[in-house]
Symmetry: C2
Subunit: 363 residues, 2 copies
DNA sequence: GAGGGTCACTGAACCGGTATAGCTTCGTAC
DNA sequence: GTACGAAGCTATACCGGTTCAGTGACCCTC
């Protein structure tokens, strides 16, 4: 293994100053075409690659972006959202020569430390802010740190985009309409998907519909809950709080929630789950108890993971396209870092994919 | 947002030279206890954090390790192995102040480029080598690049550890026993798990057992196949090549393979799947065709993901503990980077977790 | 009380890039 | 024929750490 070529080596070999090599490589004006070609040729011959740390040091740029995931390892592995999202992010970063610095922290305490470390150590130029929480403390913190960020969804209204057509969403409102999002957001409005799922069940005749949601602290959970309840009210039904169960998104809690719901004196005839793993676990519990799906119980998932299509019965789910979400978020973050600003992006809203886990309520 | 404090600020504030500050912070001898305390105090007051790029530049160390995943985004999101593995890696890195640089590349062409870029740009100090392939070209490449690496499993014999007790493994042998692994390996012998799965099915009376495996090019696929076939032979059965189906690890191909197997004139009575998503998809196909599991068909998975416990019927699977694997791999890689060498690690071998997707063959 | 050794500390070089002021050289305008 | 401007290039400072040779001060020893 021979020593790596530095910019000085290239300069010497090309018979110019290293400043000029820098100019040529970053194609800036002030270099004659012939010299530029010669320099580029020499660089190629020497297999020269600029040192990222040296470049970072002089430009105060790290050429990397960060993703901090504050969820239990268990949950991450079960929920296909993040892997897909990351894949989308990578797809963009790769073409731009940036890298992704990933941090998985179990609990929230460490989370703040991680952001501080990333920011202070100049490890990353910007970060993605996922799983937004109510009055998310990370937003002022990142502002104070001066670390650019892109939020997944609007902090004010969860992932609400420009407003789901006709969704209403009277539950969440704009809490503190004054506090605008200081960061660009990339949103995929999941309200229409939730609404469609509930309407679909209503159309099938269901009246006792349960909702198994994610952690209350996460904005999208409360937003989806609001959409869920608003849709019921639109149909003239009063939502029953006892039919809303909060979980941590794991299959284990999805199963437990299903069991609890089915053991009630007046069990629901349909359950809307907050993600696919929980829905699949719910499917298992139903079978276990001798219920048929969708005969005795209809079930819907969320995110439309690959497996949804292949379980039995195939799972009606809400498609959110995390891959595209990751791509859009990455593009927005890179633009923000480069230009100092970037426009909000609204992706195609989530929509319902009807399969065979939902059916008419038993007469 | 005020400017970040540099080592020079600390030095000035403490009234010493910056060299001494560096010594104090990296607690090296040659600093009096009082001075050290004073410096550390000042550093804390100023909320000083060393710049990673500056440090990287002078030490030629990036304080980051890399993981390159060369699988389709689709597959990664379906297969819980990598998320868990990454979570394990993170758990260790976090305590050591290192970060993980992740790269997801769809196809193998880009893979080489990514390694070269990571190495040449001094982006990472070392990498994890996953999904080892037969005569893996990445090994000589990394050697040539001088980039430290840790392999998941032995390149010679797949993930074989010190040899599963009594497993025999006459199929794989040591191909080219001369080519030792230049890198330390962290292995989790999955042969005992495979053997146990097949034995379990044989004990239940199954004779026509199919095997749905991962890509042939990946070492663990061929190793598991060998273990599978050896176990059949031990029982006096001749393996039927038609009952071995190669897939890309996606649920889609798992479903397709199951369909193909069940449409044969002499369908298998049990199927051993290479991962859980495929097994779950297989479960779905069986149900779809009106078969009961395990009455008409027994099914086993691999990796024992969280969902395995919650599908119906609950999935008999082989537990491999990717989380612990990640932790061990990270520790080994850090040691390798720090000391220049590290010992191979053999984790507890995979073992079978029997649930309800396997049962006696129908009389 | 001079020589030797240790300890605490300083100052400057260095890592490999980028940024910029300044120096040639040449062409053109008046 | 001199002045001026621009193009092309060089030299050097700088980013923020680490490393190491060197400098005093102090103690010990004979």
């Amino acid at each position: 293994m021979k020593r790596k070529a530095t910019i000085t080596d290239v300069a010497k070999a090309a018979g110019v100053s290293k400043g000029l090599v820098s100019f040529a490589l970053n194609d800036r004006p002030g270099v004659s075409p012939e010299t530029r070609d010669r320099i580029l040729g020499v660089a190629r011959d020497l297999d020269y690659r600029p040192s990222v740390s040296a470049r970072s040091l002089s430009t105060s740029t790290s050429y990397a972006v960060g993703l901090v995931i504050a969820r239990d390892p268990e949950i991450i592995s079960a929920d296909p959202f993040f892997p897909s999202f990351i894949a989308g992010v990578e797809r963009v970063l790769l073409t731009e020569g940036r890298t992704l610095v990933l941090s998985v922290v179990g609990d929230d305490d460490h989370e703040a430390t991680v952001y501080r470390t990333l920011a202070a150590g100049q490890r990353v130029d910007g970060v993605f802010l996922t799983d937004l929480r109510r009055d998310d403390p990370r937003i002022p913190m990142l502002q104070e740190l001066g670390l650019p960020a892109v939020t997944l969804g609007h902090p004010g209204t969860g992932q609400m985009g420009t407003g789901g057509p006709g969704a209403g969403d009277p539950g969440t409102g704009q809490p503190g309409a004054g506090e605008a999002n200081p960061f660009p957001s990339v949103s995929l409005d999941d309200t229409p998907g939730t609404v469609a799922a509930v309407r679909h069940l209503l159309d099938l005749g269901h009246r006792r519909i349960a909702h198994v949601i994610g952690p209350h602290a996460m904005l999208h959970a409360s937003r989806r809950r609001a959409a869920f309840e608003a849709t019921l009210r639109d149909a003239g039904l009063e939502p029953d709080p006892a039919l809303v169960v909060e979980t941590d998104f794991t299959a284990a809690q999805g199963a437990a929630a299903t069991t609890a719901l089915l053991e009630r004196a007046d069990p629901p005839t349909a359950i809307v789950f907050g993600n696919d793993p929980m829905a699949i676990a719910g499917l298992g519990v139903a079978h276990e108890r001798g219920l048929t799906v969708p005969g005795d119980l209809s079930i819907t998932g969320f995110d439309d993971s690959e497996l949804a299509r292949y379980v039995y019965p195939s799972l009606t789910s809400v498609r959110t396209d995390p891959l595209r979400w990751g791509e859009a978020a990455a593009r927005t973050l890179l633009r923000l870092v480069a230009d100092g600003h970037a426009a909000d992006v609204d992706l195609d809203p989530a929509h319902l994919v009807v399969r065979t886990s939902t059916g008419p309520v038993r007469a």
